[in-house]
């Protein structure tokens, strides 16, 4: 119902007798290839050897990125707080050695805590420790998941359990030092 087939999948292609089309140089494309080659030489762009328009811009992070948003600032404060708490741990170890060495050195250590410089460090340490406790309490529920059927235990329970530990530890320490067992 149609005319003679001009080609068939199996047979040889009939010879194309039409005149070859006049080809014009694709100047734009060659120019682009040159650009890509140049960029590759300069190491400034993508270019995988094929003719490509790609030249992705790669933004870099500023060193001060952590100041950019409130969330980043809170994160960085949290990380820095750990170091301040670490300083107090060193102080506390000194206290341990002092109490082992006898009453005189223990008195020296206790007095040292009233030194203005140490006092400032201690105030900072307390703020840092509280920040750590609060931020850690907020983050723990996403790690510790207690599944009950098709739900998870509410975050509050996980937090409450940590707060409870703190309260118990504080009560025991205060009772002990207050002379409850002596």
């Amino acid at each position: 119902m149609t005319g003679a087939p001009t080609s068939s999948p199996t047979g040889p292609r009939p010879e194309d007798t039409r005149p070859a089309p006049a080809r014009t140089l694709d100047v734009g494309r060659l120019a682009q290839a040159d650009r890509v080659a140049r960029r590759r030489e300069e190491g400034t762009g993508a270019g995988d050897g094929t003719v490509s328009q790609r030249n992705p811009y790669r933004p870099t992070m500023k060193r001060t990125w952590f100041l950019a948003t409130k969330e980043y600032r809170a994160y960085f404060l949290r990380e820095g707080a750990a170091v301040v708490v670490g300083l107090f741990v060193l102080n506390l170890m000194l206290g341990m050695v002092s109490i082992a060495a006898g009453l005189d050195s223990w008195t020296w250590w206790v007095d040292l805590q009233r030194n203005p410089f140490v006092l400032v460090l201690n105030v900072l340490a307390l703020a840092a420790a509280v920040l750590h406790t609060v931020s850690w309490d907020q983050l723990t529920p996403s790690i510790i998941k207690v599944q009950r059927g098709t739900r998870f235990l509410a975050d509050g329970w996980i937090i409450a359990q940590q707060v409870l530990l703190l309260v118990i530890f504080a009560a025991v320490m205060v009772a002990w030092l207050g002379g409850a067992w002596s």
Partner: protein, 123 residues
């Protein structure tokens, strides 16, 4: 221990970090309030009083060991965060800096405990 490209000991480092952070949550605020403020400002009596109460318990070698290990964990926590903060600041120090940072967290408690044992034995 199996090895594969890029496997590090980070699970160990992170595990200790997590342990330190965990105990720090309920330990540190209490310890700081008590030993940085209440004890020095006489809430529990003078240094003699607290010495009387604590000396006997704390100089037990095992109690002291536990305390130093717990404090070491908190220190490790600080070291871990400090090291990662360097990366956050785009500082990529040579390996020796990392050894020093975590080394403090290991050596300080070790030295502290040794001194403690020496002092406890001689006082």
């Amino acid at each position: 221990m199996r090895r594969w490209a890029g496997r590090t000991n980070e699970p160990l480092f992170w595990g200790l970090f997590g342990g330190g952070g965990m105990v720090s949550v309920f330990l540190m605020p209490v310890l700081i309030v008590i030993f940085a403020f209440l004890v020095p400002f006489g809430v529990f009596g003078g240094a003699e009083g607290t010495y009387e109460t604590m000396h006997g318990v704390l100089t037990n070698w095992f109690v002291a060991l536990v305390l130093f290990v717990v404090l070491a964990l908190v220190l490790w926590h600080a070291a871990h965060r400090f090291f990662h903060s360097l990366h956050d600041l785009k500082i990529h120090p040579p390996e020796i800096v990392r050894v020093v940072i975590y080394g403090v967290a290991l050596l300080a408690p070790a030295i502290g405990y040794s001194l403690f044992l020496v002092e406890a034995a001689t006082s």
